[in-house]
Symmetry: C2
Subunit: 302 residues, 2 copies
């Protein structure tokens, strides 16, 4: 498999699906819709929607059921970045090498575009659920929606953001750093794979196993972020580098050093793929691309 | 009926239900949970949850099905006030006579407490939906959830907020003023009555009639707000008065004058109650308290 070619095809595929759910820019609220549109289209790896679809592909299910969730997931991820970039939060002028939403549309529209995307994510999915006539698909979709809300919220991503903001610049215990990583970045990655499995008809046991695989993937992803902040250039990364050191931020790298961080990313990715292999004995289809995707997180440059 | 006594009983009833859904303040994210708790408990008329329950009471239905929606509705209303008060938005230090959330907990936690409440609203309701085993209740609840998301979002409240912010301080056309009123305040009031009806098992025709009744109530409510900004004292209102004039804000009163505004509130309330009466011919139970509640909006002092 030419992984990079496959990845670029699947990124495009996910992007087309996501874009088809972006609300049309019209009406009196069109400035709001423009800001939301800009925030979503400014780019990104689309990793979370890809994880939804690739996890679903391990099951026998109609792929279309994943589409509203892919869009909702990316909209929630995007809203969190827009609010993270606000002056009251990280105060970041750049996101993916371009002006952040509040820089381009004003701080008030940074707040509102984020609110709009978060709410619209739930509008897409709840509308989709309300349109279902088959009881089995309805219940699976509602469960996937409940999973999304839980992992995005105060016991998931928002909870992680809040501790990250509160502890900013302070020395962190291993336990607190782990909490922030698992919630702030990990929770949505977990939700992505879990939603794919739930929509695929997986039972609670399998969904639980997928959750722990995704948890390893999420932690590896976040530690790799810390590594890239030190080893990458601003051009490669599309955002300023050495930000963590400048901000006196405790990271996995600042606590354990760069070599231990690299080994940890490898260990977590290996464990995730091993555990994925164990699922193949449970009548779940092998997904070579998903395995490669998990390994690629170790070698990513941005 | 001693309306004021009844209102205070039902406000307390709604408040107890809402409070039972506030997440427990514990864990590493407890500062976030404190800010959310403060925002919800700082007070309010609890009009939206009361409208959900009182509308449901016109139908034969188990009242408990309304509880998660009452909490979710009040959490969404609260998040919108918290974000409205932010320095980048209305920059209000006071809300209901007390410090606004960002003033007490910091601007970053103004953003995050709002995000947390908005998301938690959907977490409560989607979790509740996922717990339902009866297909008919599941579908009604999912429809109510979709209604909530639509009215809270970019084609509802957030859309109204965005035009309000964008047009701030500019002269407004009647049409734009109407758009802002119907969306910013009206949409959640419409959703409240519609959710009560949907959960009560109303068909689309009845839900549509309820929507237009609620739309009149919402407009009357908003115009009364403009009147109170001029005629009330800061003590009565629990927030500064004459703010609209100071901010050069176009309101129904600034365009049409205070007498026309008062007549309009009366006209809208009368029409809403008339239309409610017409529903009683369609096998829907009379609700004297709901009628009084709608009329009380004309005479309210805060």
């Amino acid at each position: 498999m030419d992984f990079n070619k496959e990845l670029s095809l699947r990124t495009k595929e996910a992007e087309n699906i996501i874009y088809s759910y972006i609300p049309k820019i019209s009406g009196k609220q069109k400035y709001l819709l423009e800001a939301m549109d800009y925030g979503v289209r400014v780019g990104g790896k689309r990793l979370r929607p890809i994880l939804i679809l690739e996890t679903l592909r391990m099951f026998d299910a109609d792929e279309k059921v994943a589409h509203p969730f892919m869009a909702a997931m990316e909209f929630i991820h995007t809203y969190s970045l827009i609010h993270d970039d606000l002056p009251a939060m990280d105060n970041a002028d750049l996101r993916r090498g371009k002006e952040s939403v509040h820089k381009k549309f004003g701080e008030d529209f940074g707040v509102l575009a984020g609110d709009g995307l978060l709410n619209y994510a739930y509008e897409i999915v709840s509308n989709y659920c309300a349109s279902l006539t088959d009881d089995k698909s309805l219940l699976a979709s509602v469960k996937a929606l409940a999973c999304l809300a839980k992992k995005a919220g105060i016991y998931g991503m928002v909870g992680g953001q809040s501790v990250d903001v509160e502890e900013d610049g302070k020395p962190l215990s291993d336990e607190t750093l782990d909490f922030i990583y698992r919630l702030k970045t990990g929770a949505l990655l977990e939700a992505s794979m879990m939603i794919g499995a739930i929509l695929g008809g997986a039972d609670d046991e399998v969904v639980g196993k997928i959750e722990s695989i995704a948890s390893d993937v999420g932690l590896a992803f976040q530690i790799q972020d810390d590594i890239l902040d030190i080893t990458s250039s601003a051009e490669e990364l599309g955002k300023p580098v050495n930000i963590d050191e400048i901000n006196n931020k405790t990271t996995y790298v600042s606590v354990h050093g760069i070599d231990a961080a690299k080994s940890q990313v490898k260990l977590l990715s290996d464990r995730a793929v091993d555990n994925l292999h164990k699922l193949y004995d449970m009548n779940i289809k092998k997904n070579d691309f998903l395995e490669e995707l998990i390994y690629s997180l170790i070698n990513r440059k941005k």
